[in-house]
């Protein structure tokens, strides 16, 4: 799964060109699939909308109703499309963050949800909700802080004298996750009873409360984060050889580590603030990307970003239609698809 020293170091200009072409082609295909899924999933929901009129309205970017009634138009553009776009932002963010953590920590099991980083962001969001309820901006800010603190805690706990072994990292993740879960339980006691139920739903990952304030924030962070991490992909490739080797090859190890931790925490923070903890996305999607496209981060990071968006859009469509007009939390669906797929992937490798 992780490339050997020889083939990364001997990457010639020709190989770089091949990689670039492979990146562009695979990303173009994934972007096409993403666009198609946004359109198709916009036609699916608990309410039936006329397909051709909806397509016409979508093609006009919401400028003409194309014969949709006002309610149908509102359902499409005020409820369904914003939710799909949020699903894309959340999925893209989590998968990118997962790919980055896996490369930086040299551990294929690193995942925001399993390492407790999502829980850190959840604690931050809950504190924002309890103490600054009205001000939505505090949510991604405190979620980012929580994710960053959790990341640092896991990283410090995992780094023993022998370095951060995969087992140590996962154990550190388990400790941080369980500790933060108890913090979450404690914070829920500060909330009134009527809100606890909706919080348990939110903790599992739920996209129904799409906030018009947080949607543009989440999309911006998802796109910017994926770009920044893709630009650091070469350094991450070298870091996968080991920190000392990477340093010898001219990688500013410390700076790259700080940038990746900050950006990944920002990605997890913004998605958790908007939708709670959607699990397994950061695990399954980068694995699929590496299995199908190889372990070069210059391909697998942007591919994971696009694939994550696609994955969560489809999962959320299942969540909102399978027992319509009632709904399931999207996190239940991603875990339901993600956990067995993960087992299958592990058996294959």
């Amino acid at each position: 799964m992780i490339g050997t020293a020889a083939n990364v170091v001997s990457a010639t200009a020709r190989q770089n060109r091949v990689t670039l072409r492979k990146t562009v082609v695979s990303c173009a295909l994934l972007a096409g699939a993403l666009l198609l899924s946004i359109v198709l999933m916009s036609l699916t929901g608990s309410e039936q909308l006329p397909a051709s009129a909806s397509l016409c309205a979508l093609a006009s970017f919401g400028t003409t109703p194309c014969g949709l009634t006002r309610d149908q138009f509102d359902i499409l553009f005020q409820i369904r499309l914003p939710r799909i776009l949020l699903a894309a932002a959340v999925g893209g963010s989590l998968a990118t963050a997962g790919a980055a953590y896996q490369a930086l920590l040299r551990n294929p099991l690193a995942e925001p949800y399993l390492l407790g980083i999502s829980n850190g962001a959840a604690v931050g969001t809950m504190i924002a909700l309890v103490f600054f309820g009205a001000n939505e901006w505090t949510r991604p800010l405190l979620a980012f802080t929580g994710a960053l603190l959790a990341t640092l805690a896991v990283y410090r706990l995992a780094r023993g004298r022998a370095g951060a072994t995969p087992e140590r990292l996962i154990l550190a993740g388990v400790i941080v996750t369980t500790f933060l879960s108890s913090v979450i339980v404690f914070v829920t006691t500060l909330m009134d009873a009527t809100r606890i139920r909706s919080f348990t739903f939110w903790l599992l990952g739920d996209l129904s409360g799409t906030s018009k304030t947080l949607l543009p924030v989440a999309i911006t962070i998802a796109v910017a984060g994926a770009l920044v991490l893709t630009l650091h992909a070469r350094s991450l490739n070298l870091l996968m050889l080991g920190e000392r080797d990477a340093f010898d090859l001219g990688v500013e190890v410390r700076r790259v580590r700080v940038v990746v931790f900050l950006v990944a925490s920002l990605l997890v923070g913004s998605s958790v603030a908007a939708s709670g903890s959607v699990g397994y996305v950061g695990l399954v999607v980068p694995h699929l990307a590496r299995l199908s496209l190889g372990s070069d981060n210059r391909i697998s990071i942007p591919a994971a970003a696009l694939g994550g968006a696609l994955f969560v859009i489809v999962a959320d469509t299942v969540a909102r239609t399978i027992i319509a007009p009632r709904e399931l939390p999207v996190g239940a669906i991603t875990a339901l698809i993600g956990a067995p797929l993960f087992i299958y992937l592990l058996k294959r490798t």
Binding site: D192, T194, S198, F201, G209, P325, E327
Partner: protein, 314 residues
């Protein structure tokens, strides 16, 4: 990685096996327990809303309530002085606050309850306390479950609690009084065109009242039809787009009371619904709608006056 994942899987398998073993052990315990309670002779027996045959001593002097509506019922039938424990949510009537607290509905303290030596513990199924119930029964404490799905169910709860506490006449009198008030409301709105209502339990995520919620019956009696009356369950999470597509003519926001400022704004998806555009958004005291007790009639009256003000103008 392969090695590690294997051990990870094995841990999962082992914990699953342990869980199954625990469940088997536990169900075996309950099975033996059931036979022992059935054998004990009882002074009187009442069948509760969970279909359980519960036996009570002839005289009940010490009772604990695990839900605010049950506390209100105990006080309303004049047995408040026999209430020895209540939840932190039980804030009505004012005298209830002087009674010892045993935790909240979802996390009651078993030790505190047992140390208060009650003969009867009243619970609502909303509290989902199956394990807890078994532990109380093993202490010879009768557990009575109420689970009303409509106003008649509330009346039945009041009469049953009256029987348990030997306050039969007071309970019947209370029910008669409440029934008259309910009938008066229904009479007043009988000729009116029913209003199509969306009941918003919480905005984000959107929860509503489904088929099994007693407020669904309350809305029908108040001259309205809940647009989610046929959705399975009591408090389902509901699709934003289905809520908008149902075109509610009015929206009920249960808020205030113990809820404070919570749930006082319409969910974003319904801001352009006919109800919100026409200004037919009614905030009604949550304590009168969420508690299937005597004050539910206050909630019924408030809703009927909101939906059909002209029917109550004189």
């Amino acid at each position: 990685v392969g090695l590690f994942s294997l051990s990870h899987l094995q841990t999962k398998a082992i914990s699953l096996a342990a869980l199954v073993a625990c469940l088997l052990f536990f169900s075996a315990c309950t099975a033996t327990h059931k036979t022992s309670t059935e054998n004990s002779s009882a002074a009187r027996e009442i069948i509760d809303d969970a279909g359980r045959r519960v036996s009570f001593p002839a005289q009940v002097d010490r009772v604990i309530s695990l839900a605010p509506n049950l506390t209100e019922i105990v006080f309303a039938i004049g047995a408040g002085n026999r209430l020895v424990g209540r939840t932190s949510y039980c804030n009505y009537p004012a005298e209830a606050k002087a009674v010892a607290e045993i935790g909240d509905t979802l996390h009651p303290s078993l030790e505190r309850i047992i140390s208060l030596k009650p003969q009867v513990v009243l619970i609502s199924t909303a509290s989902q306390l199956e394990v807890f119930t078994q532990q109380l029964q093993s202490q010879n404490i009768a557990v009575f479950v109420t689970d009303p799905h409509d106003l008649n169910g509330v009346f039945r709860s009041i009469e049953q609690i009256g029987l348990i506490l030997n306050q039969k006449e007071q309970a019947e009198h209370l029910v008669q009084n409440l029934r008259e008030r309910a009938n008066a409301v229904e009479e007043a709105v009988k000729q009116k065109q029913p209003v199509r209502v969306f009941y918003q339990v919480s905005a984000e995520p959107l929860y509503t009242a489904g088929h099994d919620a007693f407020v669904t019956d309350l809305m029908r009696r108040a001259g309205a039809i809940s647009v989610t009356a046929d959705v399975p369950g009591a408090w389902p999470k509901y699709s934003n787009e289905s809520a908008l597509a149902a075109k509610p003519e009015a929206i009920v926001l249960p808020t205030g009371g113990s809820m404070g400022e919570g749930n006082s704004t319409v969910t974003e998806a319904l801001r352009r619904s006919p109800a919100a555009l026409a200004g037919r958004v009614y905030k009604i005291n949550d304590d009168h709608l969420a508690r299937p007790g005597p004050r539910a009639i206050d909630g019924l009256e408030a809703m009927a006056r909101a939906f059909h003000p002209e029917a109550f103008s004189q």
